[in-house]
Symmetry: none
Subunit: 298 residues, 5 copies
């Protein structure tokens, strides 16, 4: 285990050794293993957006085993999915890649202003399947946020006592926020303090009073990371909706330059044919492998 | 243990020895240890108001360890924070200052008239982290107050049986109160009967019928303390929003002269650079160390 | 908190912050607070040997409050007693000295070859009374040792999850051991690996093959401490039966010189009149306050 | 409530207010209410010795309601019986006299050297029946004593958390003791430290070394009371087997003069016709009402 | 993951994916990772035989951290130790090597004919510490074997539901076996059917009836492996007491040639100075890396 990984683990010194072991398993796995950066493949769109909207662009992806293969071949640090999707493939790939069991899920049959996900899995499932972590989505900004925080608190207590890491998907969303506000840098930074995995902030807000630099995307990433306990929590950024590849790479460079810890890339990966997806992820990982000076200053 | 602390503990004679032990730990710690006065550093603004609004004025404060250091160096009686913020620093400072685990938290992404906090931590966390107390916020005046009282009752039952003290943050707030009413002396006194940590009342209301003196701030503090079981419960006052330092000191003198037990000072402490914060807290503690005659009469 | 205490706490890095907090409370309390040495007053003889045999030499000791006073006035690091004895005094002394609840006890109405203590208290009692630790006696060498190890394992699991430290009294005793063997240095070292509080070895055994020096008492203490995880566990030595004071002081010097962490002194303390006991303990603590070179080499 | 009862309750300051309330109910009830002395009627002989041996001398006593009436008419402080015996009469006498539910019982069909009672009732029964206390018998000296101590510990934890007092019947008995030793003053004093209700010691042992006076029965009572936390626990003495009335009164005077807290009188009460029993108990209570100088000196 | 590891995992197809994941973690770790062979470092001798007998030959081994380092540097597949020994080092080495928590332990202060180990740790500990497996010792042949089988069954049920592998140490021992019988090939084969880690059989018995070849050590290993579900369970052999290195290597070759899955080597590793130990283990692993034809036929 190299010094960078030891440093990251030291931020979690109040957690038990099991949690640190499972964090190490993710940080040391795959092509980015040992760099302190992570690329995670999440596939909860089948549940969240329905199978056709998710998998029709690449019908091989209807098969749950496809995503295990993609994550393994691409050298991702971990693969995250809901219970059913994991169960349908894990027998063939036990021990080949760290798994994150997504424990709540939200369908989009309803166009809710204030989304609340259903809790569909738990710690005993994660242990039985050999996962390194449980995942949970919160929507700060939703009128249901207090309920989600309490569900997350219960899951976290149980997971931690079993030595599992907890990965929180934090999407500012809900009636309390304007569409622009949902990705405003201060709201996203706020979410980052509560969780550890956030959407990349696109919009700007005036941070003039204290002269926080937020003019570049790297600046904004830096601010989000700083907001997560002064950079002492792993913050991974979500690619969000499909954009042109070059724009995506530019964002990844900004995440890297701003001190972010990596990307979680779902639709942008699995909605392409596999060779394309592998090439795309190869480029992303290549960017993360290239160190830059700014990061070490955080 | 001196006579004043013994006297205060005697008010809690119906509680078990564990609770009294943990109260004694707070009352005997730090610069004001043994005086019967307390200054507590609370840092839940990162969760409550978002990190940038909380920490940008003093970026060192993004790091959870900063607040442990500040509370220790200033000689506070205790440090209070939510679960994540405590976990991210406690490994480095175990046993150095009494800790209060803030068990519910309220984000401000919504502009709710009737706030209800989310329960984000509990007694098992407090024990695991070595805390002396759990903290809980109630909003008497909120339409959700009954829910909060019931959550508090459950937390209190579990905490007390484990020997933990319970610190209640009581802010009159909600649709049932006018903005002016929120800090009216009778409403605050009412809240004090329910809890033990209240905002300093700023506004006045007519207390003429029974000729309760409320003309000075010290009078109003005295009335609030009296309302909390005739002064037999520890009532600490919240500094609230930033004011000029001189005005703050004047208020602290009024708390002292009115028989209050101390201050809980968050933003006014950690939003300054550390040397300034230490000087500011030094002045506050100096005021509390200066006895006055009125207090002993309560 | 000074560097020596931080160093000791670092040996317990895999334990939760609550446990480390409670260890720090003992290590930082009383006259030896901060030295890394401890003197603990234990009073379980009333249960173990009967009240008259225990307290007739100093009738003031029939009163459970006497022992709290003695431990506080002498500046001990902690006071240890069974449930009833703690309950009968703790209300008057809450928060004045760290308490250890002795959770199993053994009466001596029977002359058993293979003693097994009764479990008479537990973690919920310790929390309710504000204790920093639970205590438990094992007799490696007893035919009942497996039962004791399993009881200890259950108690430890529950105590640790509640942030309590665990203090083990380890007395080699039982049908598997000769009287001489009970205090042989290798058996005692063995016990030290299982526990953390042991009787001072008096007899010798041949340690010739590997040339472990055990000719002096300090040598033997050193070997016992080394056996407890290379000195990375706190090992405290029991004074055992009454001996002449000068001999006792000589043994204390040997414990200090051999790198032991202190003494647990029951009958030798409370069976004297209080002024004598305070003077006796003052001498013992004075010896521990005097550093020697050998210790730092361990 | 008078000062003597307040003083006695102060010894139980670490217990919760519910326990102190139930102790006060016993101490303030009946003819001796408020004196600090107690006479309790126990009827577990039907279970322990069989109904004929118990009730044939006074056939009215076969009816469980008889004993409620006797205890009420005599002005006893409390009535103690096993579950079935209480259930069969309590409906008619709810609220008329404090009740103690005897939770373990021992039949005498076997002539065991090492008796172990069966647990036949529990805290939920005591609450349901409106009892002020649970009762439990231990036999220090029995080879089964560790089991009994652990059963008592479990019962006590549950009873105390429900605010019930715990009355322990402590009879030194078992293969570890000679018949003479069973009532030897040191063994009984020992038992008193573990419990609070003991048989009156008849035999003597040499207490010469520390010159503990045990030549008179009052001396021996005094030593037993002292052994129970320096007189800070209520110790009541058992009358044991039937003796001539005058001898019994002499023993009661010794209990009073030695500082004992009263008598528990079963067969000597209910095996007489009711008018005789009332007269007998009237004499006993009269003795306890007569203060003597020695008591106040303890 | 290569085909050999997939093949081994396929034998455990009825187990949940968590168990297979943890088996894969061991099989893929260290120098022998991926070969299907394993070398495990076990250190329970400190508890089993006492610290001096265990560690005096190499005093560095008194420190629990030493064994983590040795196992990591040597490239072992896993490190196995009791609870206290793991806890005292795991904070520094979380995530660096697969850990096996030894859940029962047997001291040797008694010279029992029918050993029964004490259960000293459990599944919750293993999860909290990040272990891949729990370990448990059975003594088929002991009069206490039924108790051990039942304890093992309970542990296994709980461990498997949490996705942990179970490693059984199976030593034929007890009053039912002659000293010679303890290592007889049929007894060992029998034990292998119950467990998966066995002592190397040294003695012979007549296997003539069915013409099972057992003339060479490789033959006997082959028979033991065959006895463990026709080679479809991982069987690892114990080195036992110290022998000359050349003899040890010869035995390792026999294990390899007989189709055994590897060695568990305790005292032969850690009782040497580290450079010697690393060289010794290097030789052992080199032997296992050298394929032979016979194995593939099993």
């Amino acid at each position: 285990m190299n010094d960078r990984i030891r440093e990251i683990l030291s931020w979690y010194a109040s957690e038990n050794p099991g949690i640190r072991t499972n964090l190490a398993r993710m940080l040391n796995h795959g092509r980015l293993g040992g760099t302190g950066k992570m690329v995670i493949l999440p596939v909860d769109q089948g549940f969240e957006h329905g199978p056709a909207r998710s998998f029709a662009p690449n019908p091989a992806a209807y098969d749950p085993r496809y995503h295990f293969q993609l994550a393994i071949e691409a050298g991702c640090n971990a693969y995250a999915a809901p219970l059913g999707f994991l169960e349908a493939g894990v027998a063939d790939y036990s021990g080949e890649i760290p798994l994150i069991l997504k424990c709540n899920n939200h369908d989009t049959l309803h166009d809710e202003k204030d989304p609340l996900s259903a809790v569909t899995a738990g710690v005993s499932d994660a242990l039985r399947l050999g996962c390194v972590a449980v995942g949970f989505t919160i929507y700060p900004g939703s009128a249901e946020s207090a309920t989600m925080y309490e569900q997350l608190r219960d899951l976290t207590e149980e997971a931690k006592s079993a030595g599992l890491a907890v990965v929180v998907w934090s999407y500012p969303r809900g009636s309390g926020l304007s569409k622009e506000g949902e990705t405003a840098v201060d709201v996203v930074a706020y979410a980052a303090q509560i969780a550890a995995k956030v959407e990349l902030p696109e919009a700007q807000k005036v941070y003039q009073k204290y002269e926080i630099p937020i003019s570049t995307l790297a600046d904004r990433v830096h601010h989000v990371v700083q907001s997560a306990f002064a950079g002492r929590r792993i913050v991974i950024f979500s690619g969000g909706v499909s954009v042109a590849d070059e724009q995506f790479y530019t964002e990844v460079r900004a995440i890297r330059d701003g001190g972010g810890f990596g990307s979680i890339i779902g639709r942008n990966s699995f909605q392409r044919k596999k060779p394309d997806a592998l090439k795309f992820l190869d480029t992303v990982m290549g960017i993360y492998e290239t160190k830059n000076d700014r990061q070490s200053a955080i």
